[in-house]
């Protein structure tokens, strides 16, 4: 009887603690949202980053300004900020590209809307003139073989519109941009035109990185707007002998010094357990890098600011990391993981352990949930928190994934988490002149910042073990 009574007492008391915690978590999460939605600064920070600094490709003056801006911005509400040096690729677009169909009987001289792919070699001022061969995939290219010799290969496989998640459509097409130029060069092509990685039919091209394969000639490569890809394809059906004049002026300079920017609030009880919230500071040179990834940067910074303003003292150390060079090298993410490994391996001193890394790099759109790349027990623990997050539109915790920059931390077995906003509009802006501040909705951006703060808070409170 006594034991039963004792058991009942323990049970009651633990239930009561549990109810208390649950109500505390719910309350703090609501406070974070209320604060962000009424006095949030993510939108005004993004306005500065996107419209005052603007494009910030690795090695550019814009990137240097963004480093300085984020260091300065975080100083007001973190315990410390520091710069983590990293050498980055330094590619420069140079003057406006030209892609001109010069011998169409139907269209006369036809200017196509193109932009060089990041990392591509240029044609130089004398340009390249050649016939055009359209293919939809590498298998078609292989079958053509050396028949593309001396030609410009036109990769024209569109996004699969039936994939509900546009990132899935992107993954199904991006091989053309990343590997297409070298695949074409294998068979003697002298240039590559790649259909832009866009969801719709648009007048402007999407840039993005390519990867030249080793020991294969590097050929000039451009993205063409989806609208002009459709036009060119139609024209090629009628006039197979079209000649294209391509002129690009991009060059790769020596690697340049740059930095990851790291701001930190020290944990009160587990200072050596680190939770990373992050975005990447660099952007492509077109547009303003508003959604990609200005949004992620200001959301990550905002997590720390919200904690500070709310007076929340985290148990663990919370770091906002602004990675450099996601777009064309991932040098920042790689360097960060290298340094994290060193800190984890320290003998005799304080060993640091990253217990979670979160990145926002899918744009500042309305929330859907979080992706995870983590052991099943960690995923299950995070999913058990859904009742606190679903009222804020965070319902999808089922997709695999983290983020490009935090990817290298997987080698240290760090659970990776990606903020998952709605994907429908992302590939209308991604890597284009249209990725500008006016395309970001204030509330959508803020809901993302608050979502990241809420999840960071729960991880801080309960860990992920």
């Amino acid at each position: 009887m006594k034991r039963i009574f004792l058991y009942a007492l323990v049970l009651t008391s633990s239930l009561s603690v549990c109810a208390q915690s649950s109500s505390q978590y719910e309350g703090t999460i609501k406070s974070l949202y209320d604060l962000e939605l009424t006095q949030g600064q993510s939108y005004s920070m993004l306005e500065y980053l996107a419209t005052r600094i603007g494009a910030r490709l690795s090695g550019s003056p814009g990137a240097a300004a963004a480093v300085e801006w984020s260091r300065h911005t975080m100083e007001d509400f973190v315990d410390s900020v520091w710069l983590q040096p990293v050498m980055v690729p330094h590619w420069v677009r140079g003057q406006q590209e030209i892609a001109r169909v010069i011998n169409s009987k139907k269209q006369g001289t036809l200017e196509l809307s193109v932009c060089a792919l990041g990392g591509a070699v240029g044609t130089g001022p004398s340009g390249v003139t050649a016939g055009i061969v359209e293919v939809k995939n590498f298998e078609e290219l292989r079958q053509l073989g050396t028949r593309v010799q001396g030609k410009i290969v036109f990769f024209n496989r569109a996004f699969d519109a039936t994939r509900i998640n546009t990132f899935s459509a992107y993954m199904g097409a991006v091989d053309q941009r990343a590997a297409g130029p070298s695949e074409a060069a294998k068979y003697g092509a002298v240039g590559a035109i790649v259909r832009s990685m866009g969801s719709g039919i648009e007048a402007y091209p999407h840039t993005g990185g390519l990867r030249y394969a080793p020991n294969i000639p590097k050929i000039p490569a451009v993205a063409i707007s989806t609208k002009d890809a459709e036009l060119l394809s139609r024209l090629l059906k009628e006039e197979k002998d079209l000649q294209l004049y391509l002129e690009t002026h991009c060059v790769t300079l020596d690697d340049a010094p740059s930095f990851n920017v790291i701001g930190e609030i020290k944990g009160s009880t587990h200072p050596d357990e680190i939770i990373v919230v992050s975005g990447h500071l660099d952007s492509w040179d077109l547009g303003q890098g508003a959604h990609d990834d200005g949004a992620g940067c200001v959301q990550a910074i905002e997590v720390l600011r919200l904690f500070k303003v709310l007076g929340y003292k985290p148990k663990r150390t919370i770091r906002a990391v602004m990675y450099m060079n996601e777009e064309n090298g991932l040098r920042g993410g790689t360097e960060y993981a290298k340094q994290a490994e060193k800190a984890q391996a320290l003998k005799g001193g304080k060993k640091q352990k990253h217990i979670a890394a979160m990145e926002s790099d899918r744009g500042g759109f309305t929330p859907r949930g979080f992706t995870m790349s983590a052991p099943e027990n960690v995923k299950a623990k995070i999913r058990s928190w859904k009742p606190w997050l679903e009222p804020y539109g965070l319902t999808d915790f089922d997709q695999e994934g983290g983020g490009a920059d935090i990817g290298p931390l997987a080698n240290l077995n760090v659970p990776l988490i990606g903020y998952l906003p709605d994907s429908q509009r992302y590939f209308s802006y991604h890597h284009t002149v249209e990725d500008t501040f006016d395309k970001v909705n204030k509330r959508e951006l803020e809901l993302g910042a608050a979502a990241m703060a809420a999840l960071t808070y729960l991880i801080d409170q309960m860990g992920l073990e």
Copy 2:
């Protein structure tokens, strides 16, 4: 033994039927989505309606053109189209409104961005000049009482930004617009300025309907942009004796003849059971009525078109209804319900029964789910279909609600369903010059049309009993 065997046989066979149906439902829903996302016409229909016809307030030439357009558009793929006559209010804005602070020492002459509220009386060419009294709610107004006599009352309660669903914030503020003018007139006010029903701080005002109370003087009433509401409020704190010159030219003409437009595919096995999919054809006179509610109209029409193109022959009769006059009278929805009641009560002939009515009137944004106003067993049945709908981002089936135009069908106990897109951007555009076609994302619009088609299909297959 025999009985057990028989039971097992029945079970196996019913499971097999069930599995077959499930796979059939899944397959048809995927076909509807694939068709819409690759060959959908909702976006091009909306382009025409929004950019060629544009604004279409009840009684306007635009509304008449929209009636003709939807009749003509549906003719190609329905069994029949007809116009249902309805008399509608005919309010006309007239020339551009003026709201001018004329005696500010701080600002000099200050033009405020305003627009008359729908249904308001005008000041006429001589305008109204009066002092301004700011209030946040009707209780403050009541306490001021006759101290507002001869003044213009400025209702300035903002949306509650902490409400995650912006429709909830709208509901918490819209009493100022709907009832504010008459509340102010009760105490002798000579005009009303209402803070725009917008989520953010914007330079343009949001119009919308007011309701004058009976036996109270009708006073002129305008909406002021949220930006200028903030400015005016700040100024009033420093200069309490500000004088405002208000000039509006709106008038209410005689009721005008108009129509609901109804397109129908006859049911093959239950022709007298009707499922309505709908939107409202009228819009405010500012902007193009793209999200409100051009989107809903083309989505409803698209449901019928998708069925036709896919070769799906519904068991029940599917009707696309374009209601007239949602914005300032609800005459179309009221008339439709009246006729539906007559058809249901017919003795001796064919009785028609509406088994469900669905409306899309929350904009053409990315899908979240469906609201329902229906008996619990009906809600439970629809929720049991979630596994087929969740892969398309439709996860929220928990909110109460239908739609304004289908509301009157509640008297006939018709289950009401509202298409529920994401709400974050809606109140940036609602009832403003910014509600234009370029604010609509093609995929988001299409996903809404496909969602409505999918749910209509499931209701058609399985009923709601």
